[in-house]
């Protein structure tokens, strides 16, 4: 895939460039701030961009704002955001109605090379990838009484949890060591309980669930 990086730590940027090159991706730009990234994307949109949230000048949410702008102007470009810690607001901002190709990972996840590469592939292919930690936090915020999520069985919660990370039914089955038909059954039960139509595609469903959680 054609990848662009925005990460202010030179050390990490170089590491990412090497890692992606080893995996056979083509890194077309590796920059240190959001404006430079947008300029690079404008030159020729890649398949996916990887953006650190905290970058100069203010070290608050430059990366996120760049990510949102890229989503707005180049909807086909996948965006994988790396965040210092789980910011529910950011996660919710990224998840918009009709988009796929979004990812939100904790920065430290980069060290889990396999998981990071897997997430990057999914986002680049128009899927979704959300950090298990993000999902856990969003779910935890909705454990209150009267919440439809509280009606899910533990198994259904596991399925939703895994699905929300952007996995397909097949990979959910592999993850949880159950059959694919069992996964489908759980998914249907989840959508019934959450009053969600399941006429949409997988990643849409994931985003819908997440949006529901993040609301």
């Amino acid at each position: 895939m054609r990848v662009m990086l925005a990460e202010d730590s030179t050390l990490l940027r170089e590491g990412l460039v090497r890692l992606l090159a080893e995996e056979g991706h083509r890194v077309e730009a590796a920059v240190g701030d959001g404006d430079a990234l947008i300029a690079a994307v404008a030159e020729g949109p890649p398949d996916v961009v990887v953006v650190d949230v905290r970058m100069p000048p203010s070290h608050t949410d430059e990366g996120l704002r760049a990510a949102l702008e890229i989503r707005r102007r180049w909807p086909d470009v996948g965006v994988l955001v790396l965040s210092q810690y789980v910011e529910k607001r950011y996660a919710a901002e990224l998840i918009t109605a009709d988009t796929a190709g979004v990812g939100y990972l904790l920065k430290d996840r980069v060290a889990q090379v396999d998981e990071f590469l897997d997430a990057l592939e999914r986002v680049g292919a128009g899927g979704a990838a959300f950090d298990p930690e993000v999902v856990r936090r969003l779910l935890a915020a909705h454990g209150a009484q009267g919440d439809p999520l509280a009606r899910l069985t533990p198994r259904e919660r596991d399925v939703l949890d895994t699905m929300a990370q952007g996995h397909t039914n097949a990979s959910i089955a592999a993850h949880l060591h159950i059959s694919q038909s069992a996964v489908e059954k759980h998914v249907n039960a989840i959508f019934d309980k959450l009053d969600l139509s399941h006429a949409t595609g997988y990643s849409r469903r994931v985003l819908a669930v997440l949006r529901y959680l993040g609301s």
Binding site: G15, L19, E22, H59, K107, D108, V110, Q112, V113
Partner: protein, 392 residues
């Protein structure tokens, strides 16, 4: 504000000044007595005819304040009394009412002195020049001695009286116009509230800086380290994997070094164990610039003072290395049982901003200990940063 004069205490000049001040005091007291009588009439009139709406008529209020101002100037110039004062028209009036008798008393004593001096001269002239003896008594030696002793005693009493009047002048001014103990306390409390809030701010700033240090340094290194190890694992067990592992190992060393740096910046452990001197020597060792330390502090100052002094030096040296373009830094720390002074001088380009984050934080830290903190950094240098910290 009138310029203050440096009045030397003691010495004939000061005595002369004081005498002139007292003479002036007597004159102004006479004038003020008349004015106060007029003011009393005005006040009585306004109380009777303004239906109690106004306590002090404007003319009286302004006059009283003006006169009080004048008297304070006199006290400053002639008696060297210079203190912070805060007063309104009522306080000024009270002061004037109380000081008039004091001023008049001074005048009476001065008159006595003048009378005594004149009598002494007349006596001496009569005895030895014109031969016109007072009461027909010839100046036999014991008559002269007896008169001289009596004269000296009277002179002493009069001079003591003047000294007493001067002291009363001061204390009346202080009592009536100076801040009351309650006001002093209130001012102190206000000051403490400000410094307390500033200390909280300074602590928050430092925490933010520590967070940045950890995030920008150590955490990035650890993520990079994890990536290297991850890549090595994906590479299998060939030569490349070995190479990546070697890099990972080096990276882990660097991460450790970074962590050590950050922990040192958070708080130098040496400060607790070995004291200020050892901690400052470490600052000198770690500095990119050559730092000369001149350390002369007997014993160990209180812990809070040591810590503040350490951070002042540390920040100042870091700033000099980062921004000033200096070639070397001189640090002097001198102390006594009651005070520690810190002075950091660099030969750089100057222009340091005392309102900048680091220096402002230091100023707050020092203020919290009731110390003073100054930054002198003209364009073109040199920059001198001083802090004085009271011990206990």
């Amino acid at each position: 504000m009138i310029a203050t004069f440096d009045v030397p205490r003691g010495g004939p000049r000061a005595a002369g000044r004081a005498a002139a001040g007292l003479l002036l005091a007597a004159v102004t007291a006479g004038v003020e007595l008349v004015l106060l009588a007029v003011a009393a009439l005005l006040m009585a009139y306004s109380m009777a005819f303004s239906r109690g709406r106004r306590k002090v008529p404007g003319a009286v209020a302004e006059g009283a304040e003006l006169l009080a101002e004048l008297e304070l100037w006199r006290l400053r110039v002639f008696l060297g009394e210079d203190r912070a004062v805060r007063y309104g028209p009522l306080k000024a009036l009270a002061y004037l009412v109380l000081r008039v008798p004091v001023g008049l008393l001074g005048g009476v004593i001065l008159l006595l002195l003048a009378y005594g001096a004149a009598a002494a001269v007349r006596l001496a002239v009569g005895w030895w020049i014109t031969g016109d003896h007072l009461d027909g008594i010839p100046p036999t030696w014991w008559i002269v001695l007896y008169t001289a002793v009596a004269g000296v005693v009277l002179l002493f009493l009069a001079v003591q009286g003047l000294v007493g009047v001067a002291a009363m002048e001061r204390s009346v001014a202080r009592r009536c116009l100076g801040p009351s103990p309650l006001e002093e306390y209130e001012r102190r409390i206000a000051q403490l509230s400000v410094t307390r809030a500033q200390v909280v701010d300074a602590v928050d700033d430092e925490r933010r800086r520590i967070e940045r240090d950890l995030h920008d340094g150590v955490q990035q290194r650890l993520v990079a380290l994890g990536m290297l190890i991850g890549r090595a694992r994906r590479a299998g067990d060939g030569e490349r994997a070995a190479e990546l592992l070697r890099q990972a190992h080096e990276e882990s060393q660097r991460a450790l070094a970074d962590l050590r740096e950050v922990t040192w910046r958070v708080y130098p452990a040496a400060l607790d164990g070995e004291g200020l001197r050892a901690a400052l020597e470490t600052v000198a060792e770690r500095s990119a610039l050559p730092v000369v330390i001149d350390f002369d502090v007997p014993g160990r100052p209180p812990h809070a003072v040591e810590t503040a002094a350490y951070f002042v030096v540390c920040e100042a040296v870091t700033n000099a290395a980062k921004h000033s373009g200096a070639a070397s830094v001189r640090v002097a720390v001198a102390g006594s049982a009651t005070m520690i002074g810190v002075r950091i001088e660099d030969d750089g380009g100057g222009g340091a901003d005392p309102g900048g984050g680091g220096l402002a934080g230091l100023a707050r830290r020092v203020a919290a200990l009731d110390g003073t903190f100054t930054v002198d950094s003209p364009r073109g240098g040199p920059t001198v940063i001083t802090a004085e910290l009271p011990c206990g």
